[in-house]
Symmetry: C2
Subunit: 193 residues, 2 copies
């Protein structure tokens, strides 16, 4: 009887990771993913997304039996009742993941064991832009600062390399620092009249 | 005895809304906000943010007694166990809020009553970039499409104007279409040695 050893590093199944990388090298079209969200406005600054299916690795994923349900809200000072974190805060959370996960993946590929990793994010925004009060004021975040604390079994220089990789190859500087096309289209109802 | 009438439209207290707008016109510095998130890596593609305090309207906010806790995860095909929506999906949720809330606010300011509003979002990504397999492949979303369904008590032309405002004045096209500076800095431990 033979046991198959599952190798893990940083909580990742590295055998599966290298198999995935090999598969993508042979068939790059498997790397195409489409993620989706359906959002419904509730009231005021409250709205809710359900997230379940996505396309990736050449097929429609069916691993999720229940959807993830996420609620945007606003604090009282922005006319809400703290129904949830606000969209700007959800964006910071997304960025935290988009810095952390590539760092952890890249560390695993290099054989580095990460002991601790945390990030602190701060985003500066002037809501005059959002409210349309002053066209000279940029809408959205003026700047986002991310501070990372990381402890791993490698020299400091390697940690800096890892971070440079994470900054260059993570989607952070691609959905935020680099402009990407976003289209917003109103779907016209085809009513009975 | 006198009752104060609270006027609401689209679930927003419009008296408070116009008072806020007036206050910001008189003292624009009140419009400066800083949002924050603290994220801790758990394992593999799982990491968790806590979000509570923020600065805005000239002071540190204290309206939240409990933090919002948000968990990033990855599906099995991306080496995870669906511990939560993934960072790319959280980004779509943030964008949904950042299109919806300004639309609702602007409608309220114009006296338009919104009956229904929902959005469908799709983001295309090629994970070769993320994994560093092909430097020619852009990292992060190549494109995001947002479709909005909206029903309100106004003519179609006004809805289109509202959408044009939302696209021009919402933070969507500022944290995504427009590059903004993101800094990522490693905090060096000042250990005892």
């Amino acid at each position: 009887m033979q046991f198959r050893t599952v190798k893990t590093l940083n909580g990742l199944n590295t055998s599966q990771m290298f198999e995935t990388i090999d598969a993508l090298k042979t068939q790059p079209s498997l790397a195409r993913f489409q993620f989706r969200a359906s959002n419904t406005w509730i009231n005021g600054g409250e709205n809710r997304s359900t997230i379940k299916g996505f396309y990736g690795a050449g097929r429609e994923d069916d691993s999720r039996t229940e959807p993830f349900v996420l609620t945007n809200g606003e604090p009282p000072v922005l006319l809400g009742a703290n129904e949830g974190a606000n969209p700007g805060e959800f964006l910071l959370h997304a960025l935290a993941g988009r810095v952390t996960t590539p760092t952890v993946l890249q560390a695993a590929a290099r054989g580095i064991h990460i002991e601790e990793l945390s990030t602190e994010l701060e985003g500066e925004i002037d809501v005059q832009g959002l409210l349309g009060l002053d066209n000279a004021v940029p809408v959205g975040y003026r700047q986002i600062r991310i501070k990372m604390h990381i402890k791993a079994d490698c020299p400091d220089e390697e940690l800096d390399e890892l971070l440079a990789f994470a900054q260059g190859h993570s989607p952070v500087c691609n959905t935020v620092c680099r402009p990407i096309p976003v289209t917003l289209e109103r779907v016209k109802d085809q009513g009975p009249d």
